[in-house]
């Protein structure tokens, strides 16, 4: 008898010491099911995967707890549980699970796998999970996988599927989700961005308004003649200019700059001499310009600089000579 009391006391003590595990309860849905699944491979990067799931977790009286707490969608490889995500909403809706290429590698999934997609109650709220009661499983067949060979082509197929799902949902909900041009309207945009975060970045064409960037490509040109001319500087002249550059600036590879500055000094000396002889600035400059070509020919002046100088002279000439006479 004494022993029995001791055991009883021990039980009571253990019960008091043990931490209490909260058990929540939510009624089973009226019905549960997965309507469709599509898996897209290669949307943001090659090898990533996006599982798009259309489901029904139907309640005539919705639980006061949000679906984010009570239900989740997950991927199973046989009996091995993969990634999961809480459901956003009850009733008829869509949701997605995204895996980067690295995550796909970690889970070991390959294109066409017979994976299982499951919508199920959160075990915290549903201690017993029963198929078709508070859980539904959808086994992927090869035809549910989409990879069109390039990111752009696969994205196009996702865009088509989003429009198809929007058509299904707008009939089911009784709320328009598409515009007349089959673009997502405000409600459609909210619903699809909730379900597929980042959809606007890969399928902007399904939205009514989206940002875009002007298509601009830097023009590529090969200045072969200029390079050819710059290569004409002889070894002796290069040596002289490099030595002079090293002596003046204290730095290596300054031969080009020294050559350019030297040529500019000679140009202004020549222009000055012509100005003294003629008394005209435009004539002095125009006559001196060909001197720059000498610099091009011997390879100490870039052809680009000569053309820029010539352009400036032409503009100055137009301003001073032509406009001056128009007044």
């Amino acid at each position: 008898m004494k022993r029995l009391r001791l055991v009883l006391l021990l039980f009571i003590l253990i019960a008091l010491v043990l931490p209490t595990i909260p058990v929540y309860a939510v009624a089973d849905p009226d019905s549960i099911g997965i309507e469709s699944v599509r898996v897209y491979e290669g949307l943001w990067e090659a090898g990533d995967m996006l599982f798009v799931v259309e489901y029904k977790v139907m309640y005539s009286s919705e639980p006061s707890e949000s679906a984010e707490n009570t239900f989740l969608v997950g991927v199973w490889d046989g009996a091995v549980k993969g990634p999961d995500r809480p459901l956003n909403f009850y009733q008829h809706n869509i949701i997605s699970i995204y895996l980067t290429a690295a995550e796909v590698g970690i889970f070991g999934y390959t294109y066409g796998d017979e994976l299982k997609v499951r919508v199920m109650g959160n075990p915290t709220y549903f201690p017993v999970l029963t198929e078709d009661v508070n859980m539904d499983t959808f086994t992927l067949a090869a035809s549910f996988w989409v990879n069109e060979g390039s990111l752009a082509a696969t994205r196009t197929f996702l865009a088509y599927w989003c429009v198809a799902l929007a058509e299904v949902l707008e009939i089911s909900w009784g709320i328009p989700l598409l515009t007349t041009g089959d673009r997502l309207n405000t409600a459609g945009m909210i619903a699809f961005q909730d379900a597929i975060p980042g959809l606007d970045s890969i399928c902007p064409e399904v939205f009514q308004v989206y940002t875009s960037y002007p298509d601009y490509t830097d023009p590529a040109y090969t200045p072969t003649y200029e390079t050819d001319l710059l290569g004409r500087t002889g070894a002796r002249l290069t040596g002289v200019l490099e030595g002079l550059g090293q002596w003046i600036t204290g730095k290596a590879n300054m031969g080009g700059l020294i050559g350019g500055v030297g040529l500019a000094i000679l140009f202004f000396v020549l222009a000055g001499r012509i100005f003294i002889a003629t008394g005209s600035v435009p004539i002095a400059i125009v006559v001196s310009i060909p001197f720059l070509f000498v610099g091009n020919v011997i390879g100490i002046l870039s052809l680009t600089i000569t053309f820029i100088a010539a352009f400036i002279v032409v503009v100055l000439f137009a301003v001073t000579f032509i406009l001056g006479r128009m007044g």
């Binding site: 139907m58 005539s60 009286s61 919705e62 639980p63 006061s64 949000s66 679906a67 956003n88 909403f89 009850y90 009733q91 008829h92 809706n93 089911s172 909900w173 009784g174 709320i175 405000t186 409600a187 909210i190 619903a191 909730d194």
Partner: protein, 111 residues
Amino acid sequence: MVDKVTTAVEYGKVDYPNIDSRQLKKFMQTPSFSQSLSTVERGKMEKRIDTATWSKDERIVYDAVIDGYTSLDTLPVATGLTDTQVRKAVASLASRGRVSSISVTAQPVQM
């Protein structure tokens, strides 16, 4: 005498049953969506949001009370529910502050 069959079917009708009320609420919070609705549509959506967690019996009884059946004697006849179901629903609605259990007067749905 009220036709039990007709009213029992009509009362408790849920508009927009296939969309989560929380999602509908999210839509309604977007001005471009809510401004595109007619008064009737907006009213139905607000009712859907407001009564999403109610039981079917509560909806039926509430609609019947709104319709003028304010006596506990006539409610079972109007709704087709049993006396117990009606009393239970009334008690529940009263606890939500939607009906007064003494006079059984419907309170307007908060819009």
